[in-house]
């Protein structure tokens, strides 16, 4: 059974058709990459999967269960974790505090007992603090554990965000541009981390990113979106060399664009970021 099954989802905002008839499947342990130019509906799809938006038509199934009408926090409890395009962290708190916050569902005491200061709450707090530190150590973030999030550079925030979403103990990880603000080398390192995390946590991953080399490096399957529709799908190499994909990004004629994109991708390797401006999205 597939972990995630997006079944012909459409969503309209007034007259704007943000997603049209999008179907997508994520298997157990699979890493699925999503690419596409700005405004293609990638983040909108994430919002449909996590519950911030309700699809106008179509269904979202998670492990065979229709979750299309569930609230965000209930889907999170089922194991759908996500990161945000412009860093979903509590900025006024320290990194470790964020890790504790993210373990909300893991924290096994009633909030009222926590307020009353029940003994169990102290023990649990100790446990989730240790677990948070372990996760930070795993991602090489131990040094910044006690730094306030607002004082950290952007690239590091992206890693902290991955640590927090892992702290929610997800089964399905939705990463919205985890490689943004990273150079080619950092992005490659991130790719390695993601592959290792899949092994260690046994999660399936869906990842939106503009770093084509990163997506190619880690993905088993890639979807390319344009204007709210799936433009191309298949193995990473297949999608990357797809003429329509290059045209969608560069706005050139299919034949010319296809050639140019393939060259850029294979020859230089470092100039992997496609020339796009990041879309504005409110997290």
């Amino acid at each position: 059974m597939s972990v995630l099954d997006v079944d012909a989802v459409s969503i309209h905002f007034g007259g704007v058709k943000a997603l049209q008839n999008v179907s997508l499947e994520v298997g157990e342990w699979e890493i699925v990459g999503i690419i596409g130019p700005n405004g293609a509906g990638k983040t909108t799809l994430f919002n449909c999967i996590t519950g911030f938006y309700r699809p106008t038509r179509g269904k979202v199934r998670y492990r065979g269960r229709n979750v299309s009408r569930l609230d965000v926090h209930k889907r999170a409890a089922l194991g759908i974790g996500r990161t945000f395009q412009n860093v979903g962290l509590v900025k006024g708190a320290t990194v470790l505090e964020n890790l504790r916050t993210a373990q909300h569902l893991e924290t096994e005491y009633n909030p009222w007992f926590g307020i009353a200061g029940g003994l169990n709450s102290f023990i649990e707090e100790g446990r989730i603090t240790r677990r948070g530190r372990q996760l930070l150590a795993l991602l090489g973030l131990s040094d910044v554990a006690d730094t306030t999030v607002a004082d950290l550079p952007y690239g590091m925030l992206k890693r902290v965000e991955i640590a927090t979403v892992l702290a929610t103990d997800p089964d399905l990880l939705l990463l919205d541009e985890p490689g943004s603000g990273m150079g080619p080398e950092e992005a490659h390192g991130l790719g390695e981390t993601l592959l290792a995390l899949r092994k260690q946590f046994g999660t399936s991953i869906v990842m939106i990113d503009h770093h084509v080399p990163l997506v190619t490096q880690v993905s088993d399957y890639v979807y390319c979106f344009n204007f709210g529709e799936v433009l191309a799908e298949g193995a990473p190499e297949h999608v990357r060399n797809h003429p329509e994909v290059a045209r969608a990004y560069l706005g050139e004629e299919p034949v010319e664009g296809g050639g140019a994109e393939a060259d850029a991708g294979t020859e230089s390797g470092t100039a992997g970021t496609l020339p796009v401006v990041r879309e504005e999205e409110y997290a």
Partner: protein, 397 residues
Amino acid sequence: MSTTLRRKPGKRGHAASEASTVEPRDADGADDTKALPAVAAAENGWFRPSAGGWFARAAAWVLLLWLILAVPANVLSPFDFGVSDINLAIAAVIFAIIGLSLNVLIGYAGQLSLGHQAFVGIGAFASAYVVTNLGLGFWFGVVVAAGFGAVQALALGAVSLRVTGLYFALVSLAYGTFAENSLFAVSEITGGEGGKPADRPAGFAEDQMYYFLCLAFLVLVLWLDWRLTRSKGGRALQALRENPRVAASYGIDVRRYTLLAFVVSGTFAGIGGALMAHHQQIIVPGIFDFQLALIFVVMTVVGGLRNRIGVVIGSAFFAGLGEGGGSEGGGFLERTIGLPAEFTGIVIGPFLLLIVITLLPGGIGQLIGPVKDWMLGKRFDRNAGKLKEVEVSDVRA
């Protein structure tokens, strides 16, 4: 291990400055975790006061406890703490409880309540009714007051799920005015113009004893507030105040925790109200007007949102300005320079508010931050507890 585990989280100024000095060292030597704890601690600025330092801190603590416990009781004290003084002290403690109640709403949940006089008033009359009309004891009255406070806060909280920000502030203002003009006008509940008698419990009828009773309740509220911020509920509130979407993606039920904040705030306010009623012994509905709600907000913000010691001091300060509400002899300024008590807070408050918003975002809490950290055994640091700016989430309301 030794380096990170030994540092205490939560002290923003400290953590930030330490991290910046530590980083380069950590960057080149990955194996520095093997360093001896003592060495690592010294390099990190982990601080152990000298014998003199301990003595100075102990002296400061003794002085503080002496001020709070001995002086009001006229024990080991050269001052004569009179009737009006002790009444002011009781009012200060009660206001501190109310300030902490409002701090939960404004500071933690990010909901500006302009109708908090209703929260307090309902608690006051609930307790007075239980004691006077039903003939049940004071302790039962406080519990009922806390319960009523929680229930009415829950109702207003349900509204806040639909209406947020400035509009919620308006709704709460309307709610306060509504309670003032309808609920508090029912003479069966409030005793009309003459007020409702509210006797003090046996053994605490004397002013001094009642002061210590209120102090005990303040300690209880401080404990609950402290545990709230250090547990699941408080973190959930912080997350949903700063970013409700992120909070929801962590599995935090935004509605449930918003309501939790309202219930906690209402409970504190109910307790404060009950103590206020039994402090004055005859509680009149007239004092629960909008001006009081305004003073509550001002004293909390001036004290410093999310800083419980700051809120306590700010509230006590405004109580001292004469907003003690009916304490004999009025406030300090009335007795010294003759400014009528009922105007002091409303005259001085806005100026202090302006200073806090422009210069001192952390309020009194920021001012006393260095002293507090020092008393807790840290090195004296002028910048401890300093906030850079008023948070966006506060301005939003």
